[in-house]
C-alpha cells in the first residue's frame, strides 16, 4: 500500500495535541500541505500561521518553546531549513529549545516545482548544528512512531518527510528503536544504507538482485544524528561492498554521516549514491528521481558494476 508520511504527521499531531495542551503548531502558509492544519481539529487556537515568513515562524516557535510549549513548526524542507537557518541556529539550537522542525516536501521527489523547491542539503545543514537531532522517515507507520518519539525528546529535532506517497515498509504492529540502524533485508558481501524514499527503492533493488542470485543487505538509517556509529561500522566491516542511498546531496547527508563514522577505523569501502553536487529539476517525481539515479534500477546497475 502507498501512504503519505506527512499524513502520518498530521494524525499524530492531533493525537499529541489532544493529550497535551502544551502542544502547538506553526506553519508558514502551507498548513494544508504540511498537515499542521490537522491540529485545528483538536484546538484551532493552537495553530499559528506565520504567513510567508519562515524566519519569523522559527523566532516565534522559539519564543513559545522558551515559554514551556512543545512546538511543531513546519514548511517545505527548503524553507524550513534554509531560509530560517540562522534563526534555528541562534534561537533554537543554541538555547536547546523544544522545537520540532517537521519539514515536508524534501528532496527532488517534489517533482514539478523544480530545483527552487527541492531541498537537497537540508540534512547537511541541520546535522552540523550542535544540539540538533536529525531524522529521515521512509513510510507512514514509521512516521507515526517517530513523531511520538520526538515529542518525548526535550530539545530541538529536525524531521524530514517527502511530498509523495511511499510504499508501506512497516505496519501498525511494528516497533521501532530509532537509536539503531535497522536491517530490513539480510544478504552477504553487499550492504546498502538507505534513508527516506530510497529505502523502498533499495528493497526493490534487493528483490531484483535476489532473482539473479545476489543477496544484498538493506538497512534503514532513520536517525542521521545521533548516528548508530557502532551499528553502521559493524555492518561495513561485515560487508565487502557498502553503499549509501539518499535523496539528498552526497555531501554532508547520509553518506557524510556514515563516512565520517567509518573513517575512524576504515574496513571496507563505502560508495555514495545520491545527488552528485547538483540541483534537481522539474518533472514528474518518478522521472526526476530516475534522472538522478534515485531508483532501484540504478542501484542494481551500480552494484553489479562494482562487484564485477
Amino acid at each position: 500500500m502507498l501512504h503519505e508520511t506527512r499524513a502520518a504527521y498530521g494524525e499524530i499531531l492531533q493525537e499529541l495535541a489532544a493529550l497535551d495542551k502544551n502542544v502547538v503548531a506553526f506553519d508558514a502558509d502551507l498548513s494544508k500541505s504540511t498537515k499542521t492544519a490537522e491540529i485545528k481539529k483538536v484546538d484551532p487556537k493552537r495553530h499559528f500561521n506565520a504567513g510567508i515568513a519562515e524566519a519569523n515562524m522559527m523566532g516565534m516557535a522559539a519564543g513559545m518553546a522558551v515559554s514551556g510549549k512543545l512546538v511543531f513548526a513546519s514548511s517545505f524542507a527548503v524553507f524550513a531549513s534554509g531560509r530560517p537557518y540562522e534563526i534555528i541556529r541562534n534561537s533554537i539550537a543554541y538555547p536547546k529549545l523544544n522545537v520540532k522542525i517537521c519539514a515536508t516536501h524534501a528532496g527532488v521527489s517534489v517533482g514539478e516545482d523544480g530545483a527552487s523547491h527541492q531541498a537537497i542539503a537540508d540534512i547537511a545543514i541541520m546535522r552540523a548544528l550542535p544540539n540538533m537531532r536529525v531524522y529521515v522517515v521512509s513510510d507512514y507507520y514509521e512516521t507515526k512512531a517517530l513523531i511520538r518519539h520526538v515529542a518525548k525528546i526535550d530539545g530541538p529535532c529536525y524531521v524530514r518527510m517527502q511530498r509523495g506517497k511511499s510504499e508501506d515498509i512497516y505496519d501498525e504492529s511494528s516497533t521501532f528503536d530509532f537509536d539503531k540502524v535497522r536491517v530490513l533485508n539480510k544478504g552477504k558481501d553487499i550492504c546498502v544504507f538507505a534513508c527516506g524514499l530510497m529505502v523502498q527503492e533499495a528493497l526493490r533493488a534487493a528483490a531484483i538482485l535476489k532473482k539473479e542470485g545476489i543477496d544484498i543487505t538493506v538497512c534503514e538509517v532513520v536517525s542521521i544524528k545521533p548516528l548508530d556509529e557502532k551499528g553502521v561500522t559493524d555492518l561495513i566491516a561485515a560487508h565487502k561492498y557498502n553503499f549509501t542511498f539518499e535523496e539528498h546531496s552526497i555531501i554532508g547527508g547520509l553518506y557524510g554521516a556514515i563516512a565520517e563514522a567509518a573513517s575512524k577505523a576504515p574496513t571496507n569501502p563505502l560508495y555514495p549514491l545520491g545527488l552528485n553536487d547538483v540541483f534537481g529539476s522539474s518533472g514528474k517525481a518518478k522521472d526526476v528521481l530516475e534522472k538522478y539515479g534515485l531508483c532501484a534500477d540504478h542501484l542494481v546497475k551500480v552494484i553489479k558494476e562494482k562487484i564485477k
Binding site: A53, N56, G59, G68, K96
Partner: protein, 272 residues
Amino acid sequence: MDKLELKKHARNVRKKIIEMVYAAQSGHPGGSLSAADILTYLYYEVMDVNKDNLESKDRDRFVLSKGHASPALYGILDEMGLLEEDITSFRQIGSKLQGHPSMEFLKGVDMSTGSLGQGASVAVGMALANKLDGVPYRVYCLVGDGECQEGLVWEALMAAHNYHLNNLVYILDYNDLQIDGRIEEVMDPTPFKEKFEAFGLRVYECDGHDFDDIESVFKAIEKDDDRPAMIIAYTIKGKGVSFMEGQAQWHGVAPNAEQYQEAMTELSEEVI
C-alpha cells in the same frame, strides 16, 4: 522609587558596564550605556524580578534583542543583587557572562540573544504563549535602531499586530549610531514613528535618559488597548562618559587604562 535613587542605580550600572568592558578589553560600551537608564527603570519599576522568581516563566520577562548590550543587562542584574558571577569575568573563558547573553549559562537571562532581529521575533512567541495560557505577564523587548535594518524585526512587528499582542512592549534604543556611522547614512530605517504606526503598533516617545519622561510613557502604556506597544526612547550612545558620547567608534571598543580611569572618575563625580 525616588528618581534620585534610580539615578544612583543607573550610575552604578554604567560603572559596571565600564568595568566589564575594561576587564575583558572587549565588548560594546556605547550601546550598553545608551540603554542603562531604560533597563534601570524597567527592572526596578516595571518588572517584578527577584531572587525567588529569577528562573520562573510566571513573571514579566525581558528580551535583549540588541544582545551586544549584554553589559547593561549584566549590570542591572548585578545592581539588583541577582548575579552570582563576578562581573569582571565578562567574556572570559568559563564565565557565565558570555559576550552575548546565554540563558544556558546564566539565570536571569530570559532568552539567549546576539544575532540581531531574532529577539524581536522570539518576543512575539513569548507574548503569544502568555495569551494562550491566559496569564497577565508582559514581555518587554529592547531593540536597537540599527537593528531595525534587519527584515526580521518587521516580520515580528507584523505578527505582533496580527495577534493583537497588547502584552508585548518593544523599546527602541534610538541612539542614532551603528558601527559604520549614523543609521540614516548607513541604511536609513526611519521614519520610525510613522513606520511603527503603519505596522499597527501604538507608539510612545520619550527621552531615554530622563526618568520622569520614561515613567510617563510606562504609565501611558497601561491604558487599555489591543495593540502591541513601541516606546521610542531617544538616547545618546555612550551616555554618561563624555568622550564616548555620540561617537560611533565606541560601539565595540574597550577603553585603555587611562580612558578607564577617566570614565570611572567622571561617573563617580557625576552630579545627580
